[in-house]
């Protein structure tokens, strides 16, 4: 059993088109966009952190084991299970997206624009003896739903490593110094394994995300164990819910991805590969050592929303306890701020755990790419002629934008555009 560090495929967007405030949102990506993408939701208010970790649903449940360092001993009442659908929802709601616009008839008077909020819209005893012998202390042991949970502290990394391996958590030797460092920092280890009997009895095929809440000044995300035995960089999506504003990393640079760029229409059918290429390029351009902001949104500001917004109950389920339960709040917005960070990390470029802070920045931001469809109806006025004459230049701009964002060959882009009815001359 290997450490399944929250491996979950990133499902990109929602499989529906929603009527948007301005343009249509088209969520086109099918299946996994990034392999090995883990998803973590962090809700933070004061010194209270609620962390929700999506478990690996792609493998066999018996292969699932989770080992995460936590700042305090976590008791039974601090652990809950969350519906996978809620994680899927926050993922869909905050996902980078394509929007499409349709040009109006150049001969008809332009429609009166709606008040412009486009940039803001969207929306046992023997075991204990053995543990003692190894210098490992079992701080707590209990079951929650389909999981068996143990909270450990240790005096010695070698003893703890031995205990983990004797108990079915296959942690490589290379993890020893990292475990030692966490022990020295006073961290505990939260372990979860699937109890196959209870899972079978529940009749569920899916593992529900595990949620832990704790009080600690530390607002951070431990990533170092994840780099020990990884073959290649890991993808991590962090969704944070806070009271005041955007969350950023303080020991790595947080960077906004390019957004609002017009790109060729054919990208509609290959949005996933477009986004991967763009992200690869951005990561490289920032020396593979930046954290990327994909979404930052004030949930009080939903007028209307791009995807169905997170309900008060969903926010509370994800740990935003300060949000009033459904039916007790006035208006449609929620007093919370959501941030989505995307990290591609490896040991070379991310030697330290992610240190986080909440800022007072409430500016809305989303990674959003624009498709603009030309008017194809009958039009013969003078304005139509200049409109038609302008289209190749616009198409050329889109080709250039796509080449700059992805690094794809300009000639290949132009050929695809011509094939798909976007002439460049």
């Amino acid at each position: 059993m290997r450490i399944a560090c929250l491996v979950l495929a990133l499902v990109f967007g929602v499989a529906e088109s929603a009527r948007a405030f301005c343009g249509f949102y088209v969520a086109r990506a099918d299946g996994a966009l990034f392999n090995k993408a883990s998803k973590v939701v962090l809700a933070r208010a004061g010194d209270r952190t609620v962390i929700t970790m999506a478990s690996d649903i792609s493998g066999e449940p018996r292969d699932f084991a989770l080992v995460i360092p936590v700042p305090t001993v976590v008791k039974r009442e601090q652990v809950r299970l969350v519906q996978s659908a809620t994680i899927d929802h926050i993922d869909a709601y905050t996902a980078p997206r394509l929007v499409e616009y349709h040009d109006y008839d150049p001969c008809a008077p332009p429609p009166v624009p709606m008040p412009m909020t486009a940039s803001r819209a969207m929306g046992g005893a023997e075991a204990a003896l053995r543990a003692n012998a190894l210098g490992v202390r079992i701080e707590a042991q209990y079951s929650v739903g389909e999981y068996d949970i143990i909270v450990l502290s240790g005096a010695d990394s070698a003893g703890l490593l031995t205990w983990l391996n004797e108990n079915g958590y296959k942690v490589p030797d290379a993890a020893k110094p990292v475990i030692g460092s966490y022990i020295q920092q006073g961290m505990k280890f939260f372990l979860a394994k699937v109890n196959l009997e209870r899972q079978a009895a529940s009749g569920s095929h899916f593992l529900r995300p595990i949620q832990v809440d704790y009080e600690s000044r530390k607002f951070m995300l431990p990533i170092r164990l994840g780099t020990v035995n990884a073959d290649g960089p890991q993808e991590l999506l962090i969704y944070t819910l806070t009271e005041h504003g955007r969350v950023e990393t303080t020991n790595y640079r947080t960077v906004r991805l390019p957004t609002g760029t017009e790109i060729p229409l054919y990208v509609r059918d290959e949005f996933a590969s477009f986004y991967r290429a763009m992200f690869d390029r951005q990561a490289r351009d920032h020396d593979d050592s930046a954290v990327f902001l994909e979404y930052a949104w004030d949930l009080n500001w939903c007028d209307p929303c791009a995807a169905p917004p997170l309900s008060a109950d969903e926010l509370r389920e994800l740990g935003a306890a300060w949000v009033a339960p459904a039916g007790q709040s006035a208006g449609g917005g929620q007093p919370a701020f959501v941030t989505r960070l995307h990290v591609r990390y490896d040991r070379a470029h991310f030697p330290e755990d992610l240190v986080l802070q909440e800022t007072a920045d409430r500016e809305n931001y989303q990674a959003r790419y624009v498709l603009r469809y030309p008017f194809t109806g009958e039009a013969s006025c003078a304005a139509a002629r200049s409109y038609q004459a302008e289209l190749p230049r616009r198409n050329a701009d889109q080709a250039r934008n796509l080449a700059e964002l992805t690094g794809w060959a300009d000639a290949a882009i132009r050929a695809r555009m011509t094939e798909t009815g976007q002439p460049l001359r």
């Binding site: 303080t250 020991n251 906004r256 007072a360």
Partner: protein, 282 residues
């Protein structure tokens, strides 16, 4: 960031020769050039929380406050000092409302004219504004220690520029002492935890740390007059910053540490007296 005051009191005006004048051209020109270059870089990158209007509002408010204070205290106006404070704030502070930027500029200059002991300001003006706002309005302002990343070239550029500035201002000792003490504490932490050296190396490459070390803690007008005093001062800031950041998880620990240690300067000057620094152009 290094900050100066233009002859704030008739008394100090009457005795400029009592200070040590830095040789060569006034280091503030180099400082303004370096800070302006970094600000241009920051604006070009479009980092989250950075907007075009913030810097002009902050620098404008600092200049206005300087003009008003100069009139009030009847001293000649010099735009360089408030420009440096405004630029420093624009680089290091973050706030979501423009009026806070104006307030920051005004607070910085106001502190320089009013919080004084024996004709010397107690706090680095920009640091005072950052710390005062962080303490008074923690939900409205913040600093982004990660925003400069750890790319080596940027660190090298900063150090290079900073040495150029400080070589002329003759205050490299404070920066070096701070870097040595803070780096030493990070190294001890790393060794105690059994961490790889890559961790303290990454921490020391922080652009924000270098900016702080070479431009803010080195203020020749708000650090002790004697070298021994400056070394003690730098060591205290490093130790407190480390404690605030790692024990108390306070992200802007650097700025709050300098703020808390600054009142020691008059005491250190009394115990370890030396001739006072004045800018050659003053």
């Amino acid at each position: 960031m290094s900050q100066t005051i233009v002859s704030p009191s008739p008394r100090s005006l009457a005795r400029p020769a009592s200070g040590i004048a830095a040789p060569g051209i006034d280091a503030r020109w180099l400082q303004i050039g370096t800070l302006a270059g970094l600000l241009a870089l920051l604006l070009l990158r479009g980092d989250p929380g950075v907007e075009t209007l913030q810097a002009p509002v902050c620098i404008g408010a600092a200049l206005l406050a300087q003009a008003a204070c100069c009139r009030l205290f009847k001293v000649p106006f010099d735009w360089r000092s408030p420009a440096i404070s405004g630029l420093s704030l624009s680089l290091l502070l973050r706030a979501d409302a423009l009026w806070l930027w104006a307030l920051a500029g005004a607070l910085a200059i106001g502190s320089k004219f009013t919080l004084r002991v024996r004709g010397k300001h107690v706090f680095n003006p920009a640091n005072f504004a950052i710390a005062a706002l962080l303490l008074a309005a923690p939900d409205a302002v913040w600093v982004s220690p990660g925003q400069w990343g750890d790319t080596l070239w940027l660190g090298a550029l900063l150090v290079f520029a900073a040495i150029a500035v400080l070589g002329r201002a003759a205050r490299a000792d404070t920066a070096l002492a701070f870097v040595a003490c803070y780096g030493g504490l990070l190294l001890i932490r790393c060794l105690l935890l059994g961490d790889p050296l890559a961790i303290p190396a990454h921490q020391m490459r922080s652009g924000a740390l270098l900016l702080f070390a070479f431009f803010m803690i080195t203020d020749p007008r708000a650090t002790p007059d004697s070298r021994a005093g400056r070394l003690v001062f730098a060591a205290c800031v490093a130790a407190l910053a480390y404690w605030l950041q790692f024990r108390w998880q306070i992200r802007p620990g650097l700025f709050l540490a300098l703020f808390a240690v600054s009142p020691l300067t008059p005491l250190l000057d009394r115990r370890l007296p030396a001739r006072r620094f004045v800018w050659s152009g003053s």
